[in-house]
């Protein structure tokens, strides 16, 4: 792994994004414009939602804010690998990268680094606005929250690697990232807790990495639960992350090996 190479690629993407100044500024503005109406809607729904979300938080706005923020991060982890590989293969840029001595892991990290940094920046901004609007956060639980976030991102990055492997092998991601984001948005408890789902769907939702991640994150940051109280969800999340990363890494390795044999790594 060459961190210098990864950092150079991330910096190049950052410089490119920065060169589109209007779009760069507007993306921050749009985030603020989106979150303010959510605040008013959440405040209006607070009387009805208070009892429903009681196991994961007291204020519905804080509940939704954390759901939205983590969903943004995992959506990036799911889609950025496949998107970067797809774009790079189409333009020939990936071919130019692959003939350098830099390892594939550094190339992928560098190619997606900016997307992750940008997603984290937007999440931090969301938090700042959320706190300004009155979200009550237990700051002492920040280390647990960071651990949960890293595990959630890792689990979804593993699934993202599988999507990238599909792109490398078959030039399509079979809408895996979009499908997973849609399913997670509906079933994993982003806008409402999984306890309101029918039992069958609730059981299925437990297999989505976002479900234990969101529950543990809210319980630690919004309710101040200690590590021991969220240990079961965290353990489940870490196990899912380990499996997803292992499968994703193997799938991508196999895909590149297959592509080098079949010629699908480049146009022919």
């Amino acid at each position: 792994m060459s961190m210098r190479a990864a950092a150079a690629l991330t910096r190049a993407s950052w410089r490119t994004a920065k060169s589109y100044r209007v779009s760069f500024v507007l993306s921050f503005v749009s985030l603020l414009v989106t979150i303010v109406p959510v605040y008013f809607v959440a405040t209006a729904l607070q009387p009805f939602m208070a009892s429903v979300i009681a196991e994961e938080g007291r204020e519905y706005f804080g509940f939704v804010l954390l759901g939205t923020a983590l969903l943004a991060l995992v959506a990036t982890a799911l889609s950025s690998f496949a998107a970067s590989v797809n774009g790079g293969l189409g333009s020939g840029f990936f071919e130019a990268l692959l003939v350098t001595p830099t390892p594939l892991s550094s190339l992928l990290l560098g190619q997606t680094g900016y997307a992750f940094v940008w997603a984290f920046a937007r999440v931090i901004l969301l938090f700042v606005v959320g706190i300004w609007l009155g979200v009550d956060v237990h700051w002492l639980r920040l280390p647990e929250a960071l651990l949960i976030t890293v595990a959630a991102v890792a689990a979804h990055a593993g699934l993202g690697l599988i999507a990238a492997a599909l792109v490398v092998s078959f030039r399509t991601n079979a809408t895996l990232p979009q499908g997973l984001v849609a399913v997670s948005t509906i079933l994993a408890g982003v806008y409402f807790p999984t306890s309101v789902l029918p039992p069958v769907l609730a059981r299925f939702a437990e297999w989505l990495p976002l479900t234990p991640a969101l529950r543990a994150l809210r319980q630690s940051l919004l309710l101040g639960f200690p590590m021991s109280a969220i240990a079961a969800d965290l353990a489940r999340l870490v196990a899912l992350a380990a499996v997803c990363v292992a499968v994703g890494t193997l799938a991508l390795r196999w895909a590149f090996s297959y592509a080098r044999r079949s010629g699908s790594l480049s146009q022919y």
């Binding site: 210098r4 589109y20 130019a96 003939v99 350098t100 830099t102 790594l265 480049s266």
Partner: protein
């Protein structure tokens, strides 16, 4: 995949001065044929289509070798196998003694492929920033990066525009930047895939001169260039390998192979395409008339002749025309179309 000549009990070593930097021995690659869904359902594993068939060639340091062939001849696939992007099915390929399959990482340290198009550059970054990025990928130190980026920009004539955004470059400048990017790692082998495809004739000519003087003559790189332009192959290269349908149809020194395959074709621009002296040249066997067509305003004609015997014989023909009072506006040697050249190469190899 085994190492070729430059091995001692399986351990790669640096080749001697005489050993080729690129050695390809009976390389073979086949790809699955594109088929309709019905065919795939009927027979899921159809026979693959050979794209590179038993190709062998050597390229030495300082040598410029052209791979000439029509689209689909297998040139790009061959270059991509040497660039470690495609794994061969059979045969061996070594670069500076390193096998392209088992020692791919070592091969990448000595080669610089220019296979990708200008879309593989960051258009919103400057030329310098693009090169600095690749310097990091090539693991150059900061000091090396500064000096090599300056050198590379200097060599390709982009030093003054190094801080300009690449999106504002012309196609020729982008092509030069791709070569500058390839030169950053001080490669020993360059693999160029149709490097003049997006250039106008003048820019292409000057770019070819640059390639020849800088890469082969000054840097002593072994250069393998794929092209479908006959004049490019014979003007630029020391040696030409003509490929057709994945096979080597002909190979040899550019000067002699050009003579053998193209014959010696000359074009005469004249007002009298049916002048008696032209007919006499043909009947006496000094020239063979290939074609004649009206040019421009219809008064002038271009007559294509094949003249055996090289430039001396051509000079005699011209002298005969002029001394007989034929109006000659232009007399020049021309290259045969690629299709004709390949037909001749195939015919020649069939006769042997």
């Amino acid at each position: 995949m085994t190492l070729a000549a430059d091995t001692t009990e399986g351990t790669p070593r640096e080749p001697s001065a005489e050993a080729p930097l690129v050695r390809v021995v009976e390389l073979w690659k086949a790809f699955p044929a594109p088929r309709s869904l019905r065919d795939v359902l009927r027979q899921p594993f159809g026979p693959p289509v050979p794209v590179v068939v038993d190709v062998s060639l050597d390229v030495h340091a300082g040598e410029f070798v052209g791979l000439l062939g029509p689209n689909g001849a297998g040139k790009t696939t061959l270059l991509k196998m040497l660039a470690t992007l495609i794994v061969p099915d059979r045969g061996t390929a070594t670069i500076a003694g390193h096998d392209v399959v088992s020692d791919a990482a070592k091969v990448r340290r000595v080669i610089a492929p220019v296979l990708a198009s200008e879309r593989s550059l960051y258009w919103r970054l400057s030329a310098r920033e693009n090169l600095e990025l690749f310097a990091a990928l090539l693991r150059l130190t900061k000091d090396e990066t500064a000096s090599r980026v300056d050198d590379a920009l200097d060599v390709v004539g982009l030093r003054d525009t190094g801080r300009k955004m690449v999106g504002q470059f012309s196609a020729g400048m982008m092509q030069r930047l791709l070569v500058a990017r390839a030169l950053l790692g001080h490669p020993r082998v360059l693999l160029l895939d149709e490097p003049t495809r997006s250039l106008d004739p003048t820019a292409a000519h000057s770019f070819r001169s640059f390639l020849r003087e800088e890469l082969a003559a000054r840097r002593r790189c072994a250069v393998l260039i794929a092209t479908h332009r006959t004049e490019e192959a014979f003007e630029l290269c020391d040696r030409v390998v003509v490929m057709n349908r994945g096979r080597v149809a002909a190979e040899g020194q550019a000067s002699t192979l050009g003579e053998t395959l193209m014959g010696s074709r000359y074009a005469v621009w004249t007002l009298e395409p049916n002048h008696a002296v032209l007919a006499e040249l043909v009947t006496s066997g000094r020239a063979r008339r290939v074609a004649a067509r009206s040019e421009g305003d219809g008064r002038w004609w271009r007559v294509d002749l094949e003249i055996e015997g090289g430039d001396d014989a051509a000079r005699d023909v011209l002298r005969s025309l002029v001394s007989s009072g034929v109006s000659v506006a232009r007399f020049e040697r021309v290259t045969a179309p690629l299709g004709e050249l390949i037909e001749r190469a195939i015919g020649r190899s069939a006769r042997r």
